[in-house]
Amino acid sequence: MSDIKKFMFVNRKAPHGTIYALESLEVVLITAAFDQDVSLVFLDDGVYQLKKGQQTKGIEIKNFSTTYRALEGYDIEKLYVEKESMDARGLTEDDLLVDVTVLTSKEMGALMDQQDVVLSF
């Protein structure tokens, strides 16, 4: 496979309450193995996936939030967070466990338009 396509993963669900966030992460890691151009987007409740300080022992669920920090090792470095979603939740960049690029809704829309494949979780 020599053609590199632009893949975007759109994450809009909070972690833990449903399986979407974890499943998205699994697919992202698989995609990374195929040397594609991967972008991760965090919108709406999806921004909660990146919140620092998640301690899941009490609910007996695997704390997969640490995996976002490992994405860099798989050459996945394009992480985008929508400013409006962060603001609505009282979060700032300092609350997030990885470095991200903060985009406005409009900028996010433009980025989506550039993709070959968009997968929504």
């Binding site: 669900k13 909070a14 833990h16 301690q55 939740r89 009282g90």
Partner: protein, 98 residues
């Protein structure tokens, strides 16, 4: 009556429906619903207003899992799993808003 809510109020209408229909009693926020109990979110004013009619409780293990245990809105009561059982036992009936 105890109203148990498990969906994020920022992406689902369950919390609103509960506030619209229920008159008084207690609310317990669990799972993704716990985000409503955190300071600085757009629904904070609505939660504070609801505290006039309801006693609002939040399940702490769920908030800890989401990294927000240090941001509970003043006046919202934190409970653990034992407190969850006490709430169910202490109310005449309960409704799980799915």
């Amino acid at each position: 009556m105890l109203h148990i809510i498990n969906k994020s109020a920022l992406s689902n209408g369950t919390f609103d429906s509960c506030l619209r229909t229920a008159e008084a009693g207690e609310i317990l926020l669990i799972e993704d619903a716990v985000y409503a109990a955190t300071k600085g979110n757009v629904l904070e004013a609505k939660v504070r207003e609801a505290m006039g009619r309801f006693k609002i409780n939040v399940l702490m293990p769920d908030l800890e899992a989401r990294g927000l245990a240090d941001r509970v809105i003043d006046g919202v009561s934190p409970v653990d799993y034992g407190g969850f059982v006490d709430l169910v036992a202490g109310n005449k009936n309960c409704q799980s808003w799915l």
